[in-house]
């Protein structure tokens, strides 16, 4: 019985490893196209590509700790969610501002911009009644409600900024610039998948730090020579266009960007 379990465990582990190794997005084979500009290391890791969830957890931890202190005499503390060890620290001032709101029961109209940019996930967790509501006093509940109302107002406004990306006018400006730089190779087979996704790291002035072709594995597949040609043309367009027309503010939200070059529309039309 135990033997079977061990064999089963071993085979399943092997299966998971093989699956993980064969997933294209996990393979980090060197791209045979070199990056346009040498790479500058910045404080962004793959983990931070999930933009706010880790930050939110860190914030929750801090807020919960504070609340725990406040309500400790009224009720026994409930279990606080375990914080993932890979959580990324949030800048101190941001946390301070959150605390400030809590403490001062701030009027929604006066909330700082940084607070507005907290994700939906954060907001939900911050005032999760299962964990916190029972422990805090009435004034704290009011504060939470105020903030919830605030969320409704700010979410629509800032969702685009935080998650949808650029505003329409910002996106249009960028597109118009790249349209002019991209010479589409006309020999491409128009009945094939002609989408090249390129991930960029940008400097605040819009110049390129690093480019990465996301489907680079496809470039060396047999019968996909046209894809390499297409990818190279897209890289040339980026190089030719830089510095890109990026917004003058909000570097944090667009410093990592993905451009999806799709030639089908042009070649079919």
């Amino acid at each position: 019985m135990n033997r079977n379990v061990i064999i089963s465990f071993g085979l399943h582990t092997l299966l998971v490893i093989i699956t993980a190794m064969s997933l294209p997005f996990l393979s980090k084979k060197p791209i045979d196209l070199p990056p346009i500009i040498s790479v500058e290391l910045i404080q962004i890791t793959d983990k931070t590509n999930i933009p706010f969830a880790p930050k939110a957890k860190k914030m929750i931890e801090k807020v919960k700790e504070k609340e725990k202190k406040l309500v400790s005499e009224q009720a026994p503390p409930k279990k606080i969610k375990k914080i993932k060890p890979d959580a990324v620290p949030l800048p101190d001032e941001k946390i301070e501002k959150i605390k400030k709101i809590k403490d001062k029961k701030q009027n929604p109209e006066k909330v700082e911009t940084e607070i507005k940019q907290i994700s939906e996930f954060e907001k939900k967790e911050l005032f999760d009644t299962n964990n916190i509501a029972a422990l805090i006093d009435k004034s704290k509940t009011e504060s939470a409600e105020t903030n919830k109302k605030l969320d409704k107002v700010t979410q629509n406004q800032d969702k685009k900024m935080d998650f949808g990306g650029l505003t329409l006018s910002e996106e249009d400006a960028l597109k118009a610039q790249i349209f002019g730089c991209w010479s589409i190779p006309l020999g491409l087979p128009f009945n094939e998948d002609l989408l090249v996704r390129i991930k960029l790291q940008l400097k605040p002035d819009g110049s390129i730090i690093k480019t990465e072709i996301l489907d680079h594995a496809r470039m060396n597949k047999p019968g996909q020579a046209f894809y390499k040609v297409l990818a190279e043309s897209a890289l040339r367009a980026i190089k030719l266009c830089q510095p890109l027309r990026v917004p003058s503010t909000g570097y944090e939200r667009w410093k990592n960007m993905q451009l999806n070059f799709d030639a089908r529309e042009m070649l079919e039309g």
Binding site: G165, W182, I184, L186, L188, P189
Partner: protein, 446 residues
């Protein structure tokens, strides 16, 4: 259960990418790619040797000019003016200063070197991505010096393929009917030339009328229509040996011949008693097979590249239209339904399109449609034009166009023209004489 969660975690990992700002770029410009073709460098000894053998002052420049002209002719590239080049060819070939080439807006650079080695011509060339600052192709060819023009064409094919993603069509030949004399008394000869109009040769003397020549897939043989005892017959000609023979012993007129994709059969029309049907003849055992059987005029057959289907035109509906059928003659299906008459269908080497000639309201059009008849696109319109033939990569069509004569019957001419699938880049192909009925070979260097 743990593994299930692990697997779900792995599957969900890409979600991180979707959190990025994404911008869709669905448009670009269709301007020709600016490319610099540096003259190929050549040392003094090699220069002197080639001057003696080929009577060419600077073979390096001559070859680069061929590459430049080919690229320009394609319409996809814009070769930059050599006067603007800042770097000498010999240095550019080894280590280009990309800043200099960037300055003149070149996005690709072709450099190379020509040497005379053991009585042979050796040509090295390199293709550079100027913006990325790297070499993307390097090849060398060795051949007899007299082959120097072909080397230029082969280099162009390589550059074209590397930058556009599809095979080139420059190292190819065109067979056509050379025409001379007044319209009422034309002398027609079978002629062959490189795709750029050079190396023209006549294969027949002009004693007999010749029409509709077509290359075999290996480019070794040509099938065409000529007259034997005042009767139109399909002929075979071996280009190397010059040997000719009549195809089959048909008790009537045979015409509109074409090779099957494997080169083993000839498909053609055979007319007798006012009825015309499609036949094939096996070139090995000479067995003749009737493919279509209908009391109408079925003609201009052309195989699909895989040999499974045949397209042809027929007037079985009352008007001349395009049909397709299985290669055994079954499952005949009409595919053209537009206004006007359709003829001379030719299946694209890619297999996705059929080119045709259309006559509508007194005008002739060259067009393409998908193999199911949808997506008809008329590429060019004129007073009289017909007989499209595909380039081996299926991107360009060559056809011939006749001009109107004036009231005195003067001013008639017939010329070859090419146009690409976009409907742009229409160009006249230079020929020594008037020309008609062109047929494009496959790539010679395959």
């Amino acid at each position: 259960m743990l593994f299930r969660y692990l697997f779900i975690f792995l599957v969900l990992l890409p979600i991180k990418a979707f959190a990025l700002i994404e911008v869709d770029i669905t448009r670009g410009n269709l301007n020709p790619l600016p490319v610099a073709v540096s003259p190929l460098s050549i040392d003094k000894d090699s220069k002197d040797n080639f001057k003696k053998i080929l009577k060419k002052e600077n073979l390096g420049s001559e070859i680069s000019t061929i590459v430049e002209n080919n690229l320009k002719q394609s319409g996809l590239f814009n070769p930059l003016n050599k006067d603007a080049f800042l770097q000498e060819p010999d240095i550019a070939n080894l280590k280009p200063r990309f800043e200099d080439w960037n300055l003149i807006k070149a996005q690709a650079l072709v450099t190379g070197k020509v040497t005379f080695v053991d009585e042979k011509l050796r040509v090295e060339f390199r293709l550079w991505d100027v913006l990325a600052g790297k070499e993307i192709m390097a090849l060398a060819f060795t051949t007899v010096p007299s082959n120097w023009r072909r080397v230029g064409h082969i280099i162009t094919d390589k550059v074209y393929e590397r930058l556009t993603g599809e095979k080139g069509y420059f190292d190819t030949r065109i067979i056509y009917i050379s025409e001379e004399g007044p319209k009422t008394n034309r002398i027609k000869k079978l002629a062959i030339m490189d795709q750029d109009g050079f190396n023209n040769k006549f294969l027949t003397l002009g004693n007999e009328l010749v029409l509709t020549p077509r290359f075999s897939p290996t480019n070794q043989m040509v099938t065409y229509l000529s007259y034997f005892r005042n009767l139109p017959r399909v002929y075979l000609l071996d280009i190397e040996t010059g040997m000719q023979e009549v195809v089959g012993d048909f008790p009537g007129m045979t015409f509109a011949p074409r090779f099957s994709p494997d080169g083993k059969k000839i498909i053609m029309s055979f007319a007798k008693d006012g009825n015309s049907d499609i036949y094939t003849m096996d070139l090995e055992n000479r067995i003749v097979e009737r493919i279509s059987n209908h009391p109408s005029i079925d003609t201009s057959p052309s195989y699909s590249p895989d040999g499974k289907y045949i397209t042809f035109n027929s007037d079985r509906s009352g008007y001349q239209q395009i049909y397709i059928m299985n290669s055994n003659g079954k499952n005949v299906k009409r595919i053209s339904f537009g206004n006007g008459l359709y003829g001379t269908p030719v299946w694209s080497p890619r297999g996705d399109l059929i080119a045709f000639t259309k006559l509508h309201k007194g005008k002739f059009y060259i067009g393409v449609m998908r193999t199911d008849g949808t997506g008809e696109r008329l590429l060019t319109e004129n007073f009289y034009q017909e007989a499209p033939s595909w380039s081996p990569n299926g991107r360009v069509l060559i056809f011939y166009r006749e001009t109107k004569t004036n009231s005195k019957g003067e001013g008639f001419s017939a010329k070859l023209w090419s146009i690409d699938l976009t409907g742009y880049n229409e160009k006249m192909v230079e020929t020594e004489t008037d020309a008609s009925d062109p047929s494009w070979s496959s790539l010679l260097s395959n």
